[in-house]
Amino acid sequence: MGVFGEFLKGLKVTGGVMLRTISGRELVTTRYPQEMREKPQRFHGRHVLNRYPDGMEKCIGCQLCAGVCPADCIYVRGKDNDPDNPVSPGERYGYVYEVNMLRCIFCGLCVEACPTEAITMTHLFEMSTTNRQDAIYTRETLLMDERGRVPHVFPNDPLADLSELDAADGWLKATAPAGVAAYEGFVMWRETPGPGDWSPEPSQEERDRRSETEDG
């Protein structure tokens, strides 16, 4: 009976999984476009160029992001601000800003490098195009509008969950202390309009405390 017993054991596993699946207790796939997975805070998605709450652009055209990008996918050209009608609070602003999404590896280094938090990431990842030209995101598609809403290249895309574009960049918040525990839990960035939650990540004590209370 040993051999059959072992077969039955295996059959029990698959059969048990089947029962659990049918009863809905355990299911690992989802009906994707209808049911979206909730993404974690630090998710690396499509880039966005931020503004200050007063409508000014954050980008100052310093090209740090282009310099640090290991995939060479960012192209920035700065231009002096018109003093009467400034685009950004600094001397210069990002006159040309292009991100080649076909090259981008979503490592997040540009977000870490930007000194003014101008470029951050959203949670949107449905960026497929039928055309290489469309994969090069320009200033127009990257820059949020003055109310803080981010444009989508294909606003009618049935697959895209546009609310993902409003998520605040968790990676910026996570890397802001740069490894110094003492800096955790502080707001180290300037405000941005729009619905994202820009409160900082908690300090280490807070994290551990939260885990333990949730345990109990």
């Binding site: 077969f7 596993v13 999984v17 630090r42 740090l64 640090v68 996570a174 110094v180 994290r207 949730e214």
Partner: protein, 448 residues
């Protein structure tokens, strides 16, 4: 068809022109290796290891068939190509041919700064990205002569050990799949998914994280990480028992894996095979014990070894290593130190974001680090970690600039793959698949 004609024929057909006459390839004429070695495959491959391959003069040429398995084959784990000399269904000789996924990453590393380098090395062995990052970071830190803070080291161990579990799960899943247990495929990936979700929560990415960097780790663990890790620790043993029920004692599984694809301890050592493949032969060699890194020696765990070096033992070693890794993870979770998680050296780590606006010096450091990168003293070094596939080493040469002069990776898959011809000789066609799956090569790691 003479030799000359074959080489002269260029089979390129431009659309719109007349199609050239069909030139069949005579794969039987392709050579796998000289036959005169009289059974010493070792000599063909420059080693003194005796192999059980036997060239039988009595068997005619007609009974032999050379087939090309891959690079487009469902179970060569990527784009491995095997030239196999078959006699009926029995494999007589095998020649692995690699290079179909050559991406020039080692060369690319010379164009990237040490800070950017982790985005590159993480893509080599895409199933264990943290180990690649860790090896590169350890080598860089060795050249710099720095020591990372304890929290960073602990996080590194946590992540790499979890990564070992995910990698072994993929090995089990694809190994099961290749032998025909199709449910194992989904089950392995199902559990891997729960760990990948934790990775994603921590690093923002499921693979190729760019998280472990020279000087520490990029970000602190996310809020609630203990709950996630505790959930993984609670869930995994139950799941592993489920695999055991499904495969461990299943007579078909045992018959397919026991005594198949045997590599002896001597052969494994001679071919510098490492990792579970080596340990399955009974050699007690684990870099975590012999050359501990990142403070892994402060955690208690066993080195899992097998006995026979066959596919079954490799499978078994992997399953048991999952348990050992879980042990380490649970210890790390309990003893996670507090404090900084990147070295507070402003020449290596950029300043906290708040400091940019306050301090001119911080701003300059920020700009310097993200444009030029940090400079590394000249010299060469080698640092290795125990990746899920074996010794993953990084050899770095610096000429004093911000970019490596040369980077070479000792890729475990590449060395393990050399054991394939000896493991496969005189086995059946179906065993090929089991053997490849059990060596668990990652072609990105092999070709780099």
């Amino acid at each position: 068809m003479t030799e000359d004609k074959r080489t002269d024929t260029i089979d390129i057909w431009v659309a719109g022109t007349e199609e050239p006459e069909f030139q069949p390839t005579f794969e039987g004429e392709q050579e796998i290796g000289p036959e005169e070695t009289g059974g010493r495959l070792a000599e063909q491959y420059g080693s003194v290891v005796d192999d059980d391959y036997l060239f039988d003069d009595e068997v005619s040429e007609d009974e032999r068939m050379v087939i090309n398995m891959g690079p487009q084959h469902p179970s060569t784990h990527g784009v491995l190509r095997l030239q196999i000399e078959l006699e009926g269904e029995v494999i007589r000789r095998t020649k692995p041919i690699i290079g179909y996924l050559h991406t020039g990453m080692e060369k690319t590393a010379e164009q990237l700064t040490f800070g950017q380098g982790t985005t590159n090395v993480t893509r080599m062995d895409y199933l264990s990205p943290f180990h690649g990052e860790l090896a590169f970071s350890l080598a860089t830190e060795k050249l710099l002569g720095i020591e990372v803070p304890p929290r960073a080291a602990a996080i590194r161990v946590l992540m790499t050990e979890l990564n070992r579990i995910t990698s072994h799960l993929v090995a089990l899943a694809t190994g099961g799949m290749d032998i025909g247990a199709i449910s194992m495929m989904i089950y392995g990936f199902r559990e891997r998914e729960s760990i990948l979700a934790f990775f994603e929560k921590t690093t923002g990415l499921r693979m190729n994280h760019n998280y472990i960097r020279p000087g520490g780790v990029a970000a602190d663990l996310p809020a609630g990480w203990k709950d996630d890790v505790a959930a993984i620790l609670a869930e995994m043993p139950r799941r592993v028992r489920e695999y055991d029920d499904l495969l461990q004692y299943n007579p078909v599984w045992l018959a397919r894996t026991k005594g198949v694809g045997v590599i002896t301890a001597e052969e494994a050592v001679a071919y510098s095979i490492t990792g579970p493949t080596l340990r399955a032969t009974g050699v007690d060699w684990d870099l975590r014990k012999v050359f501990p890194y990142s403070g892994i020696d402060q955690y208690e765990f066993e080195v899992v070894t097998g006995e026979n070096g066959d596919v079954y033992d490799r499978y078994r070693v992997r399953v048991d290593e999952i348990a050992e890794s879980l042990k380490i993870v649970s210890q790390v979770m309990d003893t996670m130190p507090k404090g900084d998680y990147r070295i507070p050296d402003r020449k290596i780590t950029p300043p906290p974001r708040a400091r940019i606006d306050e301090s001119m010096e911080a701003l300059i450091h920020h700009f310097k680090l993200f444009t030029e990168g940090f400079k590394v003293p000249p010299g060469e070094t080698y640092a290795a970690v125990e990746s899920p596939r074996g010794e993953l080493g990084c050899y770095l040469v610096s000429d004093g600039g911000p970019k490596p002069y040369r980077m070479h990776t000792r890729a475990p898959s590449f060395y393990n793959l050399q054991g394939l011809p000896i493991a496969m000789a005189d086995s059946l066609m179906a065993d090929t698949i089991a053997t490849i799956a059990s060596l668990d090569p990652v072609m990105g790691d092999v070709d780099r």
